[in-house]
Every structure is written in structure tokens, then in C-alpha cells.
Symmetry: D2
Subunit: 328 residues, 4 copies
């Protein structure tokens, strides 16, 4: 028996965590990509709970940065950035439910060097930006193309980094808003939390009928905070299993893995992202164990864990979690 059999998805999902019909969305199937998370797009696919999806995603630059001499400022056309595959309509999903998305695998896709990172002027965690506006001169722009396979990230002749893939951007549609795929928020989006990786399950709040699942922006590896604003971006093939939790009622993305349960908050300043994630966790822990909120709060001061996802996007994302062995 795998831990998955005791997950919320397996216990409470409409499909009871059972794999259903398989679907494939290729780049060509998708055709037109999306740059906002919203309810105004037509679904690319309609599925039943339990569906297993194999999805091809573009990298965050839609593959336009092809070589190290390219200039991002000339190639990238804001706001047409971070193209998203989807939306996938999940039958039966209604406001107040959650989509459960089990991430099965993430593989790089396309010719080498498949990985791209870069410095973009006025973007990143250690430079002045449009939001944290300053008069300092920008850093020079710079592109780095890097070979990636499932064995490693070949950073330089002397340094190979581990392949630790995850989905940078995944979420559902807001009810009436359509928000840039560069932004994370209560519905998911561009959270850039490295824990959203194979062998984990993310529970995304449903805000409108069908949920409208979008995803994209896979990373081969990323440090905490996505420091320069860009991880190791790659086109990918992602395998997912989607289920539906009726009336789950989570206000923010919930993340489950074999050993931990957590929530992801997105806000500025960063402490507000931490507060959101931890308040959700306090409430979940209290409900799960029958403790009072004050008791759960005191237990988390002992053993809560925080992961910084991004400190560069329009909102910063942090995950707060607790090890399952402490949930009793």
C-alpha cells in the first residue's frame, strides 16, 4: 500500500483516487495558450474525476529564447508571458469544491539544451523592479542555456545540479477575474513552490463550474525564492491524475505528500504570505485533531515548517506545513 491510499484524494475524491480515462494534450492540441487565469477561455478538454492527463507545457518564454545571445527585452512581449495549457473542465466541479491534482511525473521535452535561465532587467529578487521602483541602473540582461535530462542539470563542466522538477504554475480559474499567469494567488497560479512536484497532491479551490485547471511553467530545478526571477525553465511533459473533492472548502492551495500536509499562501509583504499559509494550517490542524486553534497554534510554533517559493512574482508564495507524524 502506498501513502497515496490514505491521502485526502484517495479517501474523499469522487473517483476515490482511482485512475480513470487517459487524455493527452499536446502543444498542437492546445493550439492557443493562455496568459491569464480566468473564466473567459474555452476549455481545451472536459474530463471526469479520475482522469489521467499527459500534458505538454511550454517553458515560461514559450520557447522563444533559443540561444545565449538572445535579448529577453527584445524577444519577450509582456503581458504575453508564461503560457498556460488548459483550461481543463472537470465535470461536477462547483464553487466550494477542490480539484485534487496528483503529480505523477515531469519530464523535459525537446532538443538540448532544453533549459533556459536569464537575467531580465527590472525583474528579480535582488534588483529594483516595477513594484519596488528605484532609480538605480539595472543589471545587464543575460541568457544561459543549459542541458537538462532526468539525471541532472549540467550547469557547467565542473558542476552538475540534481534534476528536481516541479510545476511552477498551476491553478484554477477565479470566478470573475482573469489574472496574469505571472501572479500566484488563492487559486494557485505562479506559486513557484518546489514542493509541487512528483509524488505530491495539490488541492486547488474551485471557484466556478468545472474548476478550469490550468498549468505550465515547469522548472528542472529551483532554489528557494527563485532568486533572480527565473528558475531553470524547461518545456515539459507532465503526467497528472485529477480528482474532485466535493465541498472541500479550502480557501488556498493545500499540498499533501507522503510525510507532510501544508498550505501555500501568496501575498506581499512576505510575512503576509506566511500568515495566510499558517492560518490555513492552524485551522486545518484544529479541525483534523479536535484541538483548539490556540493549541494548534502552539504546536506549530514547535514543529511547523516554512518553504519560500518565490520572492519575485507579483505576490510572494510561501508554504507552511506539518509532518504527518505530528498530527494526532
Amino acid at each position: 500500500m502506498s501513502w497515496f491510499d490514505t491521502s485526502i484524494m484517495a479517501r474523499k475524491g469522487v473517483a476515490k483516487g482511482q485512475a480513470g480515462a487517459r487524455h493527452h494534450i499536446s502543444i498542437e492540441d492546445q493550439g492557443t495558450f493562455h496568459y491569464v487565469y480566468g473564466p473567459y477561455a474555452d476549455p481545451v478538454l472536459e474530463v471526469e474525476p479520475g482522469a489521467v492527463l499527459t500534458v505538454e507545457t511550454h517553458d515560461a518564454f514559450e520557447g522563444k529564447i533559443g540561444k545565449e545571445s538572445d535579448k529577453p527585452t527584445e524577444i519577450l512581449n509582456f503581458p504575453y508571458l508564461n503560457p498556460q495549457t488548459g483550461p481543463v473542465f472537470v465535470k461536477g466541479a462547483e464553487k466550494g469544491d477542490a480539484l485534487a491534482v496528483r503529480i505523477i511525473s515531469i519530464k523535459p521535452r525537446g532538443p538540448q539544451p532544453v533549459g533556459t535561465t536569464c537575467l531580465i532587467p527590472e525583474f528579480g529578487g535582488l534588483v529594483a523592479t516595477g513594484d519596488t521602483a528605484m532609480l538605480n541602473p539595472p543589471l545587464p540582461e543575460k541568457v544561459k542555456k543549459i542541458k537538462v535530462d532526468e539525471d541532472g542539470v549540467y550547469w557547467s563542466d565542473s558542476l552538475t545540479l540534481p534534476y528536481e522538477p516541479f510545476i511552477g504554475t498551476i491553478g484554477t480559474a477565479p470566478e470573475i477575474e482573469a489574472i496574469s499567469s505571472l501572479q500566484p494567488d488563492y487559486y494557485g497560479g505562479n506559486m513557484d513552490v518546489p514542493d509541487v512536484k512528483p509524488d505530491s497532491i495539490i488541492y486547488l479551490p474551485v471557484n466556478k463550474e468545472g474548476g478550469y485547471l490550468y498549468l505550465g511553467d515547469c522548472h528542472a530545478i529551483q532554489g528557494d525564492g527563485e532568486l533572480c526571477g527565473v528558475a531553470l525553465e524547461m518545456p515539459a511533459t507532465v503526467e497528472l491524475q485529477v480528482d474532485l473533492i466535493k465541498g472541500h472548502g479550502n480557501g488556498w492551495p493545500q499540498l499533501e505528500s507522503e510525510h507532510a500536509m501544508g498550505f501555500i499562501g501568496s501575498a506581499r509583504p512576505m510575512e503576509d504570505a506566511a500568515r495566510i499559509a499558517y492560518r490555513e494550517l492552524v485551522r486545518w490542524l484544529a479541525a483534523e485533531t479536535g484541538q483548539s486553534e490556540e493549541e494548534a497554534y502552539m504546536l506549530l510554533t514547535m514543529c511547523g515548517k516554512v518553504r519560500v517559493g518565490n520572492m519575485v512574482d507579483p505576490k510572494y508564495s510561501l508554504g507552511a506545513s506539518i509532518e504527518k507524524r505530528f498530527v494526532k
Copy 2:
């Protein structure tokens, strides 16, 4: 000669600041109101630059809070809040231009008591909210209905406040996003800056063809910061003159009055809103006077003025300005 004749609007507007055709948008004309600033709605009206509009706006609660015993949490249906009139399509407006909107008058509209203010749980500047999430118990909700006319705001038997009306929410559509009318941003929106008042001109960035002017949320009076999250909300009749500045290129809303020129920034944390507004002002001042950015920066350290609009919305809004007499 009025100061208006030397304004940017009069000097650079397509209509040269001349009043053109008159249009009226009543509540009935509008029919369906909007709760997002976006490009996905159909224009309610199409006008030439120079058009003079008389617009009826709902209050931020769409008139649903009728008496002091009403409970906002039972009546208000998030996200269907802060209903906006519009969008108005301005012919010739293209990305990179600015809509110039001269505010002529703002009058309360409807039966007394026409003004509403309230305390809404988890909303406001001095309470825990969904963004600044805490475990403290909320304050009790509370509604206050107040008589307002053009002579005053009748707060209590012993205290009459001045009638100082302004437009809380006004802006253009983003290019591809549709963002809650509760939020302010680079396109305007729910800035809640009291200087957006009669005898001023706001220059709003155009992000898509036609500009798509929206407005609503008039306030009879408001303190700096809109402290409890709600000002004195009122349904209103607003008179505006709209012009078009080709290629104006402002990244954020610019505000001109007889004696001052400024910009409005919206961000969290609050210092980022101030930085945005001041950086825009530094750049404008340098371009206008031929000073270097460093010189403009040093002059503003002497005589820049800051006004806190809101400290309660999804982004906080601050205006930074300079008196025109110091611009030389």
C-alpha cells in the same frame, strides 16, 4: 482664463480640451454593472474625444445596505462588490495613449440618508484581514446611514463634516487581465485617493483599443487611508469631460490640478506604492524641466507631497505630487 487652459489635457488632447458631444449614462442605461476592470465586457457607450459624460453610479454596495440593522455579511456577495459603470469606448485610443478625464462635478443621488458606512468583519486598516491573516476575533459588524447633501455630511446631531466628494474607483481596462474593481493598480481602479475630485484631471494609461473607461464608488468624504475600509459611500451623478492624449506613455495614473501635478502608485507594502508614485514623478519632472533624474530626486526631497489614498484595498494607493510653482 482658467488653469484648465494650460493643463496637459487642453494643450495635448485630441480635442484640445474643448467640450464635445454630451452623453448620459443612467443606471437603467447601464443595466448590468461590472465587478472587474477588463477587456471582456461590451462597451456601454462609444464616444469621441471631448465628450462630456453625465454618469450615474451606484454606491459600492449597489444600494443593498438600506438600514442600520442590515448585516453586510448577509447582504454582500463577494466578489460582486463595487459595481462599475462603463466601459466607455473612446475612439482613437490605443495602447500607449492616455485618457484624460476632467472631473466637473459629483452630486449625491437618491433618497436620504444617501450615505452609508460600515464595519465589515476581516476588512479594514486596523483589523486582521484575509491578506494580513490572524487568529484574533473580529470586531462586530456595524452599519451607519448618514444624510449627505452638497452642504455637508450630517454625521451626528453635533457634528457636520464637510462635503468633499471624489471618485473612489476609476480606470481603464488592462490588456488581457480582468481585475476586481476592489483593487487599484497601474490602470487606476479602486485607488480611493481623495484628490481625484472636481476640478482635477486624471490621465489614465490606455492598454487596449478604446481605453475602456470604467468608474464608480463615489465618496462624500474620506480620510487619508480610508481607515476602516469603507468611506462615506454614496450613489452619485458624476459629470466628466473625456479627452485623449496620444502617445502620453504614462505607466501609472497621473493627476493634475490647478496647483499640483502628481502620480498615483498602488502596491504592497505601502512604501512600494510611494516609490512607484515618486519614481514616476521624478521621471516626469526631469523630462519636463530638463533636469537630471538625480536633480529632480533632490528637489522632491525638499518639496514633494504624499497623500495616502487607501491602506485597506488589495493594493495600497499613494499619490506623490509637486506644486506647479516649483516646476521650473
Copy 3:
């Protein structure tokens, strides 16, 4: 009768607002200046409540920046910056009291050009700093020396700014801490709020016996936020009248003028400074008028005023106030 006769100082001061003995502290009397607000220094003077002080202050650079070709980075010796006159021991002052300091006049002192402003690398509101650490290159350093008299600030041949002097740094000693005079906090310090000016009274919390009044850092003029980190700094002669309010119990500096009453909060991020100032004001207003805190909160959402003092110091300072005519 002047408004002063109805001030808190005149009504509740130990000296009932009556002018007492006159004292003078010259640069020579002071001898050694202080770079921290703390209890570890010996008082330069001991006075009775009611004392009228004429105090000579250095400019924030201790007069070391003498000409426009000087390089601040070579001349300034951190942390020996912003020299303070004092401490003055006020007899009878105990923890929980407040020193009332009426500002009578501020005059520039010394040979022209008496005013200094400058750009200091890694310091200022629109540049990367040690606190908001970035990798961008700094702006070039730059010094500007400016003639100032009581009629004006002679910025350039074509631009004379008004002379609007105030005290940038004033406060009492913390109980056990000694904190850089570059920082503002609950005891006052480097608030840089332009309303701390002639014909106003500041009430400073007493944290230890004698209160230990320090001051320095006068400015000939300053915009909101002290944008580049430095105002128009000048050596000055300041005339003050000092009284003592027993058991006043204010947690933060309170500021009274003819028409307004307010509080100054200092914190990061900026919204926390606004929250502090407004919470103090809510509590004062409720106590003063017998309203509930909720009612005071709602009234301030109508008519509270916020002034941004500094957005450059280790904590940002904002004042929140209400016009006295609305306090009933």
C-alpha cells in the same frame, strides 16, 4: 488668548504651560554630542518643568560637509552621524509621564551657504540600501550647498523654496536601550515629520527618570518622505519650552497644533507605521469624546489625515491626525 492656553500642555502640565527659567545650550556647552538615544549619557542640563531652552544644534553631518566637491562616503563616519544635543534632565519626570515640548522658533545658524543636501550611496527612498539590499549599481554621490535664511531657501537662480523649518530628530531616552539617532521609534528620535515645527507641541513618552530630552537634525524644508534620505540639513538655534505631564501614558509621540491633534508611528513596513499612529489616535479620540473605539474608527475613516514623515530611515514615520473641530 492663544490656542496654546487650551492645549494639553497648558491644561495639564506641571508648570501649567507657564514659561519658567531660561537656559541656553551652545555648541560649546554641549561639547560632546550623542549618536544614540539612551540612558547611558550624563545630562548636559537639569531643568524644572516650564524651562525655556535655547539650544544650538549641529546639522546631521556635524558640519563636516563644507563644499559641493566633498564626498560624503569619505567624510562621514558611520555610526557617528546625526549628532544630538542633550540629554536634558527634567525634574520630576518618571516612567509613564510625558515631556511636553513646545517649539517656539527654529533659526538657521552659521555662515552661508548654511544648507546642505546630498545623495549618499545605498541610502534614500528610491535606491537600494543596506536594508532593502540589491545588486544594482548605486547612484553617484553628490553634494549641494544652499543658502537659507528665514525668508527662503535659495535652491537655484530661478527657484526659491519657502523656509519651513522643523526638528528632524527629537525624543527621550529608552529605559535600557541606546538606539542610533538615525532611527525613530516610540520615544521619538529621527522621525523627520515636518509637522514638528514652530507653534506645535510634541508630547514624548518618558521611559526613565528625568526623561532625557535629546534633539538635533533641523531641516530648513523637507518634502513628505524625505525622499533621497536627506532633507535640507542646517545647523540651527532652537527655542523650546518644556513641561511635564504626569501620568500622560502615551505610548508614542503625540503632536498638537492649533487646529489638529495627532500621533506619530514609526515602523516597517510603512503600513505598520500608519497603523500605530491611527490606533493611538482611535484610542485617544474614544477616551476624549466618550465614543466607543468602533465609533472613533469610523469617524477617522471620514476625516483622519496622514502625513508621511520619512520613508528612508531604519523605521518609517507617519503621523495620523484629526482636526480639533471634529473632536466632539
Copy 4:
């Protein structure tokens, strides 16, 4: 050979990482404890580089919270909180050097239940505080006493947490400031970063002759962020080895362990703490490997790690680190 032999301490320390004379500071030896980090106290001990210290520390409440029915608000006497042992004068230490402090062991000391945690009104990460001032009612205060030994933390009958001790507060004296031991900053202090634990070395900037090492506030276990403001506080016996790195020149605390090298930044808002820590790490990495700052910045976007220490103290503390295997 242990990793320690290749540490900065062993390679660059005046004592070359060799253990020197042993010293003991008991509670009685210390006598008077300190509540500020500053240069105004007399050293309790003077040592040569290489000294091995066994230090008894109080818990953060100086042992005054003895039972679960105690009320912190009645017992605790602000600002006399978080008592510190020291200062220890290290011979030869001068401004610009670093003290290297190798943490050898941390053991609980005293009668059971030796651990204390509590909820203190207006203090903590998920409640309104004096800094993030709100009008919401506070949570009730609450005390929990917990048995702790080197095998575990006996949270409840059904839940034993691991014993993961670390030093919550450790640092050197500022040059002229004396700052509350509740605050972390560039000199260390109340960082509450759980990585400051046995088998790690912290390099603390020296700001004045002798360095003036203080420490206290040991925790038996703590989650990321120290969520409710208090960890599991315990009196402890700490064994340390102290060395001196001449001219090390780090601006902020540097932390070395077997597998990682990092820096700790402390600031508000939280992103500024992350920026400080990461900027220090970028500069160190560039200097260590000969890469440019831009290259180091891009490498850290791939593999930098962030740990949230506290989100409750006057400044928030975050550590940023890189695994040593990636430093080439």
C-alpha cells in the same frame, strides 16, 4: 578528519580551530543578566581565541513562569526579558573581525518540566501586536509546561517531539548602540534560526574591541517562524568553542555546517531579511569561486535554500544558504 578541519574557523582562526583553555560561566558567576546587546556592560569573562566555554543560560523568561496557571502579563516585566549571559571579551578582537563560535552541545538544565511555552497577548505571528497594531481583541494568554530531555520533548501523552536544541539569541555588541535582546540585527541577537545548533559554527561581526559575546534563549525545539512568538524555552548548559577571524569583514552573521554555508539577515518586511541574507551569500559565493556576482546570483536561483527563523521579533530573521557541494 571531521568537516570541522576544513571550516573557515579551523583554516583562518587565530587559534586555527584548536581548543584552548576551558572556562565555565554559571548562573551565579554571571550574577546580573543583560537585556540589551551593547558596549556599556562590563565583561563577565575575558578569553583568548580558542577558549572552550561552558555557559549556563536562563530561559527567555528568566525562569519566572513556573506553572501553567501563571499569567505572563503579570509576571513578565518588559523590557527586562530574554536575559543574556555575557559579555565575553575575546582578546585581540577588533572592529572588522569576526568571532567564530562553534556550538558543541546544548543540554536542558534544571528540574522538570524544564520547557515552557505560552501565548502572550499582543505578541506572536498570527495576532495583532504593538508593531502591527490592530483593534481586534487579543487571544487569551496561556502557559504550557513541558518535560524535555535529550531524548525528546514530551508534548502530550500521545505526542513526543524530537529534541532539536539551538541557541535562539547570540551575538556581539554594536559599537555604540545597546539594543534589546528581543531584537535580531546585523550583530546577531534574537535571530531564532534553528540552524544555530550543535555541530555548526556562527561567525559574528565584531563591532568593538573584544567583540563582547552574549548568548541566551535556548530552545528545545522550534518550528520555522517561531509562530506564536515563543518556542519551547528552556534553561540550558551550552558548550562553545570561540575563535577569532581577523579582518573577516562579514556584515551579517555567517553560518557554517558540514554541508552548507549561509548568512542570516534580519529586517522587516520579511523579504528584506531574505534580500540581506541572499546578497551576502551572492557576494561570498562570487568571492569564493571567482564567479561574477551575476553568475552567483543565477546559481543561487537554482539551488539557494532559505530558512525562516522568526516572524515574530522586532525584526524577522531568515537564513539563506548553499550546499557546499555546489560551491565550485
